[in-house]
């Protein structure tokens, strides 16, 4: 979903509760507890009934908000999972009677079926290169298919009238109210913990820039699928509660109008806030139950209109507006500490080559962008790759870091064949890639970006925000040299161009890579920044034994820091030698001066002389 990078969290949505002191948060929780506790005694039977249903819908809406507002997956199909839960209750209680056994069976069916379908939908929707709205369209197929199945189930599923009048839990209205209300609160709290935890930042990062995630070793497809399955189970349990309470299960619960109603509620009440949809869903359901009786079509029309208006004018939703005066915008800043060096030893003699490329080709149809690329690089080397525009330098980087890229040939990172592995696997072999344009997470802070980059080294917690951020010493050096250590709470999009480049470099280094690919790391930097980055790179290679591959246009910069230079021209390696010899060679001069040396008679001799 890289193209969604500009679709950040709706502007103006203040991080309301995130800045609250614990005292205030628990105060709100207590107030909620008291409200739900007193609820059934102050509302009439009709309202109690409406509220119980609204609470169950609220749980589903929370899952929609986690998937859409945080992880960026717009789903029209969450109703399917809600409906599956309801049908599990309806079918099992109708055909197996109501007993302890059948309750377990129904719950098992609700969880199992939702998980299986969630995984299936995830497999279909999330793969590398999928268009962002493709997943949304799949989510539209699900409810249509499932409600068709329910409709064609004949007397077994009750077809269009569904199942009614089955025996269910013998709870009083008050008890149902408390069960539903406290479940909603528990789900809200759990969701809140999740999205505000360190691991929860991964969701936002995938929405911002899933490509960068992959190059930080994060398997976005797997995480999205797992999240979808988890949300499916939660929604299914809510549906189970709804079905058991109302004792009416109909195809509408599976259908996509309910799925889109979830979206409407979440959008209107404020996506990406969690508490907004929680409160909003309950409010909309109550209003709707009163108004849809007196003016059914008008109410729908009104809802549709306000939905369009809110999307265009107020993407943050309505309810956060009300809370804005109380918002406290204070981000907690973790303390930087030095990470304990991992057990991974520095590469020694006898290790395989750091990088090995053997007869690598990249073709687009009949056009060869890379031809017969064969070279290797060792630990501690700083290899410059130079060549005019279109020589294939960036393509070479791509073929090194993504197994799916090259057309033919062999690539090994410290002896590990990258086969057809995706970038996240290559990263696990010890590869780090810095892109040409700063490739970072716009809406995350500097500290959060760095924490994410550490996630394959240090599994982030699902429930808490750590107070310290442990980074390897050379990352701390980069941060100090560029003054980024003073900007930890600043959102990455507010940094200057040079700072963003430095942040990306720090993120890549936080992976503790053994091999690092740098695509024009100094482009657009000032002379001073360039010198600083140069020093860092030299020290990485010399003191920490990294193998650095550096694509650069600036020959002076290469001359200063590189230990060896590879010259690419029209997709071939035409020379690899020491810096001085390359820079002084006629060949390189003629390429950069634009003389077509292929036309000359000396081609063969030059190639042999160069190799």
């Amino acid at each position: 979903m890289a193209s969604l990078a500009q679709e950040k969290r709706a502007p103006g949505a203040p991080s309301f509760l995130s800045g609250l002191k614990p005292g205030r948060a628990s105060l709100i929780a207590l107030a909620g507890l008291a409200l739900v506790g007193a609820g059934p005694f102050v509302t009439d039977a009709y309202l109690t009934n409406t509220l119980i249903k609204a609470f169950f819908f609220g749980i589903a809406a929370i899952t929609v908000d986690i998937l859409w507002g945080y992880a960026g997956y717009l789903t029209f199909g969450q109703s399917v999972f809600f409906g599956i839960g309801a049908y599990s209750a309806g079918l099992v209680f109708t055909y197996q009677g109501f007993s302890g056994m059948s309750i377990a069976l129904a719950l098992g069916a609700a969880v199992g079926a939702a998980a299986i379908l969630g995984f299936l939908a995830g497999w279909l929707s999330f793969y590398r290169g999928a268009a962002p709205f493709f997943a949304s369209i799949i989510s539209l197929v699900l409810p249509i298919a499932m409600s068709q199945l329910a409709l064609s189930g004949g007397s077994f599923t009750g077809s269009s009238s569904g199942l009614t009048g089955f025996e269910s839990f013998d709870f009083s209205m008050e008890e149902w109210f408390w069960i539903a209300g406290y479940s909603l609160m528990a789900c809200g709290l759990l969701g809140w913990k999740l999205v505000n935890s360190d691991a929860g930042r991964i969701l936002t990062s995938m929405r911002d820039n899933s490509n960068r995630c992959a190059y930080l070793g994060i398997n976005t497809s797997a995480i999205n699928t797992a999240l979808l399955a988890a949300c499916a189970i939660a929604a299914s349990l809510a549906g189970f509660g709804y079905g058991s309470f109302s004792c009416v299960v109909a195809p509408e619960l599976l259908g996509f109008s309910l799925g889109t109603e979830f979206i409407v509620w979440v959008a209107l009440s404020g996506r990406g806030t969690l508490w907004g949809p929680l409160v909003g869903t309950v409010l909309f359901n109550v209003t709707s139950s009163y108004l849809s009786g007196s003016m059914p079509f008008m109410w729908q029309l009104l809802l549709g209109f306000s939905f369009v208006l809110v999307i265009i004018l107020l993407p943050g939703g309505l309810i956060p507006l009300l809370a804005r005066p109380f918002a406290v915008n204070k981000k907690s800043v973790p303390e930087l500490v030095e990470a304990r060096p991992g057990e991974k030893a520095l590469p020694e003699k006898g290790w395989p080559h750091a990088i090995e490329m053997n007869r690598v080709y990249k073709k687009y149809g009949s056009l060869s962008v890379l031809r017969d690329i064969t070279f290797h690089a060792e630990s501690g080397e700083l290899v410059g790759i130079i060549g005019p525009n279109g020589a294939g330098k960036t393509t070479l980087m791509r073929c090194l870091s993504d197994g799916g890229e090259r057309t033919d040939g062999l690539v090994k990172i410290y002896g590990n064949d990258i086969e057809r592995f995706p970038p996240e696997q290559c990263v696990r072999f010890g590869l780090g890639r810095k892109f040409q344009n700063a490739n970072i997470f716009d809406s995350l802070t500097v500290a959060e970006c760095l924490r994410l980059a550490r996630s394959i080294k240090e599994r982030p917690s699902f429930l808490e925000k750590k107070r310290t951020l442990a980074l390897p010493p050379y990352v701390l050096d980069v941060l100090r040299l560029t003054d980024l250590d003073k900007k930890l709470p600043v959102p990455a999009r507010d940094l200057s161009h040079g700072e963003q480049q430095a942040l990306e470099l720090a993120m890549v280094l936080a992976l503790e890579p053994l091999v690092i690919l740098l695509d024009e790391p100094t482009a657009g930097l000032t002379k001073a920044e360039r010198t600083r980055i140069g020093k860092v790179l030299v020290s990485l290679a010399r003191d920490h034994g990294l193998c650095c591959l550096l694509v650069e246009h600036d020959l002076d910069f290469v001359k200063e820091i590189a230990t060896r230079v590879i010259v690419l021209h029209q997709g071939c390696i035409i020379m690899q030698d020491t810096v001085d010899r390359v820079v002084d060679s006629e060949l390189v001069r003629s390429i950069y001066a634009g003389t077509d040396f292929y036309a000359g008679p000396g081609r063969k001799g030059l190639r042999e002389g160069a190799a």
Partner: protein, 277 residues
């Protein structure tokens, strides 16, 4: 033989219904979720015309006008402000679909209406008798695709449109009014939608939700065929045939889901195949 004709006419219908969506997706990279409602507008335009005793030609003209108006209003008020937020644009068109459908419900009620086909009875084709109106869809679809092909490949508008599709920034910097191109494409897409709605209405019933049934199938067809009308035609032929096969030999309910399921799996597997090639 009947089976073959079923396949062909189903594909023709699918092509008619999908081409408007394709037009909009191709130029604006936006899936128009209001397309279902737009089909509905076309259906009701045909219904209004025939209910007043006018001929089908008037219905089609009315559908064309309604499509033009709807397209123009939607593009100006909803799609353009959301140009930088494609997912939100999709959502907004969806909300708009709800609004349009509710307006139709308020105007005409939820009931199902039937429209007489302008061409009655059946024709004998190659020895079998077949519904004449369904057959009529074949030249209509062929004509539409020919017209679209000519429009996109042989006119100045087409050249500019293709320029915008390939590289909007460059096109704009060369003095092509890309906003106008997008506006016109959206209107054209909406008109194709309402015309399709009017054309298919005699074969099916007309009700406010009539477009929704076609929505997922046409989304999936567009996703599979990419940006070209030629590949859209081929996809319609293949998937339309598959739908007919499943509906007539297995189960009509499964038949209705065929295109969606087939397309989802195709996309899933093909994209993997690309990365391996």
């Amino acid at each position: 033989m009947v089976f073959l004709l079923d396949c062909l006419t189903t594909s023709a219908l699918l092509f008619m219904v999908t081409s408007g969506l394709m037009m909009i997706f191709g130029v604006m990279r936006i899936i128009n979720f209001a397309h279902g409602a737009i089909l509905g507008i076309g259906g009701y335009a045909a219904y209004v015309a025939t209910a007043r005793g006018f001929g089908p030609g008037y219905g089609w003209a009315l559908a064309l006008l309604a499509g033009l108006a709807a397209g123009a209003v939607v593009e100006r008020l909803v799609v353009r402000p959301l140009y930088k937020r494609p997912l939100d644009a999709i959502l907004a068109t969806w909300g708009l679909g709800i609004v349009i459908i509710q307006i139709i419900v308020m105007g005409f009620g939820r009931g199902v209406q039937f429209i007489d086909a302008p061409i009655h009875g059946s024709t004998i084709v190659l020895g079998v008798s077949y519904s004449a109106y369904r057959l009529f869809m074949l030249p209509v679809a062929a004509g539409t695709s020919a017209l679209l092909f000519l429009l996109l490949n042989k006119t100045r508008f087409g050249t500019k449109t293709r320029a915008v599709i390939m590289n909007e920034e460059l096109a704009a910097s060369l003095g092509i009014n890309s906003e106008l191109i997008r506006f016109l494409s959206f209107c054209l897409g909406a008109v194709l939608g309402t015309l399709a709605g009017a054309l298919i209405s005699p074969l099916f019933s007309v009700d406010p939700y009539m477009g929704i049934a076609w929505l997922t199938s046409s989304f999936m067809l567009v996703m599979v065929s990419g940006y070209s009308f030629i590949s859209l035609m081929l996809t319609c032929l293949v998937f339309g045939a598959a739908q007919v096969v499943i509906s007539s030999f297995v189960n009509p309910v499964l038949g209705g889901m065929t295109i969606a399921v087939l397309a989802a799996t195709t996309l899933r597997l093909r994209s993997k195949g690309f990365s391996r090639g």
